[in-house]
């Protein structure tokens, strides 16, 4: 039974990694695409419709980045829970010496850096078109 639980935890960790990767890539890609679109709008002739379109994309950036941030925070927490369970299992089996608990803090740092990358590209996508305009 313990092996099944172990497989389940490993499977969950894999799913968690994929989900987090999708969050990060989607957010960064969308930020860059929106940066291009809004820069194009900002450098063309200014009118009311274009301003509305620009602000709509800004709202989209904010929402997507917020979703990505919440997703990454939840992903980090989920990963920690799964790894805590895994570590406890190893401890019960007397093989905890093969797993370094400091890996948990490394994951935290990595998630924070992912969030920072998403935030910075989001900020650039928001600010640059307004500078051009």
């Amino acid at each position: 039974m313990i092996e099944r639980v172990h497989e389940h935890i490993i499977g969950e960790l894999g799913t968690n990694t994929r989900t987090d990767t999708i969050f990060v890539l989607t957010a960064i890609l969308l930020n860059l695409i929106t940066l291009g679109i809004n820069s194009g709008i900002a450098s063309s002739n200014n009118n009311g419709t274009q301003t509305i379109v620009m602000f709509t994309f800004v709202v989209l950036i904010i929402v997507v980045n917020l979703v990505a941030e919440i997703g990454l925070i939840r992903g980090r927490q989920m990963r920690k829970k799964l790894l805590d369970g895994l570590l406890k299992m190893y401890r019960d089996q007397g093989v905890e010496g093969y797993y370094d608990p400091t890996l948990l803090s490394d994951y935290t740092t990595r998630y924070n850096l992912f969030m920072l990358a998403v935030l910075v590209t989001g900020l650039i996508a928001i600010v640059i078109p307004f500078i051009i305009r």
């Binding site: 904010i62 939840r74 500078i131």
Partner: protein, 183 residues
């Protein structure tokens, strides 16, 4: 020697040859004289050229501040042009001052520089604007255009962008602090 006669008569061959010679001389004289006659009969040509001096095209100016552009007016005709008036066609509310705004006499082949002081009103939106300068005299007329790029001294859009960025950072920090706690 050619026209020398033998016993008071021109030999037949010589007389025929001299006719051809005269004809040739007439043709040559015609060819020489006709072009010079054309020069003397050339029409009076009044032609002005107005151009923006290099480096002053697509000039960036700041709204509310005076900037100067330089143009050159040249008379490329063969006659002097008198009483040239210089007029500017500019966006509404702009102040464009031409110095000089009229030229009494511009000789053939001569040029003159014109200073154009441009002031866009303070509230002018950032963008590209066309400025046209027209030079007209009673005999001829010419015009040139230049693009002026206006940069606002105070950009409202920039501050909106900065404000949004601060808002996004605040939301991120708030969400991070609320949800980011390890549970």
């Amino acid at each position: 020697m050619i026209f020398q006669h033998v016993n008071g008569y021109y030999p037949f061959r010589m007389r025929k040859g001299s006719k051809y010679l005269w004809f040739l001389l007439v043709v040559i004289a015609f060819m020489v004289l006709v072009p010079s006659g054309q020069v003397t009969a050339q029409e009076d040509r009044f032609e002005l050229v107005l151009r923006v001096l290099p480096g002053y095209y697509y000039r960036e100016i700041t709204a509310g501040e005076e900037s100067t552009l330089y143009l050159a007016i040249s008379n490329i005709g063969n006659q002097a042009v008198k009483d040239i008036r210089l007029i500017s066609d500019h966006p509404r509310g702009w102040h464009v001052d031409l110095r000089p705004d009229s030229i009494d006499y511009l000789g053939a082949g001569s040029s003159q520089t014109i200073d154009v002081s441009v002031t866009a009103p303070s509230g002018t939106e950032r963008g590209e604007y066309t400025l046209t300068i027209v030079a007209e005299a009673s005999q001829t007329r010419t015009a040139t255009s230049t693009v002026v790029r206006v940069e606002s001294a105070f950009s409202l859009w920039l501050w909106i962008g900065v404000g949004l960025a601060i808002l996004v950072i605040a939301i991120f920090v708030m969400v991070y602090l609320r949800l980011g706690r390890e549970r």
